[in-house]
Amino acid sequence: MILIVVEHAHGAPRKSAFELVGVGRALAAASGRPLAALVLGRDGDAVANELTGFVADVHVVRDARLDPPRVETVTRAVAHAASALGASVVLVPASRAGLSYGPRVALRSGGALLEDVTSVAFEGDTVVATRLTYLSRVNATVVASATPVVVSVKLGAAAVAPLADTRGSVHELAVPFEADDERLEVVERQRLVKGRVALEEADVVVCGGRGFGSSAAFEQHVVALADALAAGVGATRAVVDAGWRPYGEQIGQTGKTVAPKLYLALAVSGAVQHLSGMNRAGVIVAVNKDADAPIFKVSDYGIVGDVLEVVPALQRALAGPD
């Protein structure tokens, strides 16, 4: 069986769930194996119900110990479900959470891990995937030789799947948690600004660099442009090091990896560490006053100029002639 682990927030599946459905359907069809989904959380019912529109069998673990989700409780639940349901492939999103519990589930299950893959397929009974290595510059083909195979799928790497023709059903699953699963205590959770689209899920990302000169100018230009485009806000390492923006908005090797349809790099020079976080974007636009900045070499469209002049002009151009 192919098992999808559904991550959710605010009572709805995350976008990654529908991407995994597409990946899972292809693996199921190619291997003749059934497809099932796993939803974790005390209030997982609404999420599970939504998933029945996509997957025939949805298993839900309603347990207060999964709220808030912690890596060890999630590991226990996913490893137990994989074994109890006889999964040969466990698909998880390569979210921060999935990258954290994925290796633990694989090791605990005596299986293999294919991490942060951009594609995955069966070759006979063997699971083969592609993934990016060397700061996202080299595409590697990797092969798993143990079962179950835990596959974390890069966010945005697969298309969102359409609804199924028939409705599935929900099954309750109990998990034998152990005391050690709760040895870390969550004392506080800080959320990113509500209402703004999550960086990894955004179709458009606007990223700014130090060239804006100040935190206030960054807010006035980058954040305003992002809001106008319903885009995610990103920042370079220099910007977060300066304390203008939170670390959660940093894009690059030491920050987040994004692959939006459109990426606007504003006053971003394009160091290789930054490029590794965004070089899979569909269309890249660069604005930089240095015509020799490396970012122009990896951009589709470039404007050489001062962001403090170009960005307001871009805002006006987007608003149209009226």
Binding site: R104, L113, D116, V298, G302, G305
Partner: protein
């Protein structure tokens, strides 16, 4: 207490990576300590400077040349070093078993390692080592404080950050924001040459995942530079994004 910091030698980020017939060619590449791992060494030193009585053991895995990164860690202030020698790029799960055995043998109660490897682009090592040890882990830590056996850590999660509390032992994966790593001084670099460095083969049982081939990712971009004043250049940009790229 005993702190183990796990290190890896990786190609310099600026180095050009080549592939030929599906095989990686790293000839002539400069290798450096993985930047993500440096935060771990630095944090071990800071915990000791803040009063924790700690022996710091730097552990690296990789080819013989990886001794270099251990010498760097010793120059920064680690007390001794162990190199687990392995030629090939190892599956993090298999490697975790070998590292866990060493960590147990050393009697460590805190393990620090980078949040992501700059060669394999993998975040799996820290969680896998914790799993192999039966310890909890906190990944992507931006703060970590010790009070005796108790710790408090702040780490990044998908939609923000979380503050966690627990007791040692624990594996922490480190990243930018945790601290600002120091540079070694010349006298300490000299002193590091006399600190103990042990080399032994990595005892890896079964490898469950193998790389079959590599190919440098080359993506052609349009590289169109739009001329003119900001008004006309941005008007043209919006037109191209709508009509040519069709992303608006």
């Amino acid at each position: 207490m005993k702190i183990v910091t796990i290190l890896k030698q990786v190609p310099d980020a600026e180095a050009r990576v080549r592939t030929k017939d599906g095989v990686l060619d790293l000839a002539g590449t400069t290798f450096v300590i993985d930047g993500m791992d440096e935060y771990g060494v630095e944090h071990a030193l800071r915990l000791r400077e803040a009063g924790a009585e700690a022996e710091i053991v730097a552990v690296a895995y990789g080819p013989p040349a990886s001794e270099q990164v251990l010498r760097s860690a010793l120059a920064l202030g680690a007390d001794r070093a162990v190199l687990l020698e392995a030629e090939a790029q190892l599956d993090p799960l298999a490697l975790a078993g070998a590292l866990a055995a060493l960590i147990r043998e050393q009697g460590a109660d805190l393990v620090l390692t980078g949040g992501m490897q700059a060669d394999w682009d993998s975040a799996a090592l820290g969680p896998a080592v914790a799993e192999a040890l039966g310890w909890p882990h906190v990944d992507w830590a931006t703060a970590f404080r010790l009070d005796g056996e108790r710790f408090e850590a702040v780490h990044d999660v998908d939609d923000g950050s979380e503050t966690l509390r627990g007791s040692l032992p624990v594996v922490i994966t480190t990243q930018q924001g945790l601290n600002e790593p120091r540079y070694p001084t010349l006298p300490n670099i000299m002193k590091a040459k006399r600190k103990p460095l042990e080399v032994r083969p990595a005892d890896v049982e079964t490898v469950q995942t193998e790389a079959r081939s590599f190919e440098v990712l080359a993506r052609e971009r349009r590289r169109t530079v739009l001329e003119g004043d900001p008004g006309s250049a941005t008007a043209e940009l919006v037109r191209l994004l709508r009509d040519e790229a069709k992303v608006l």
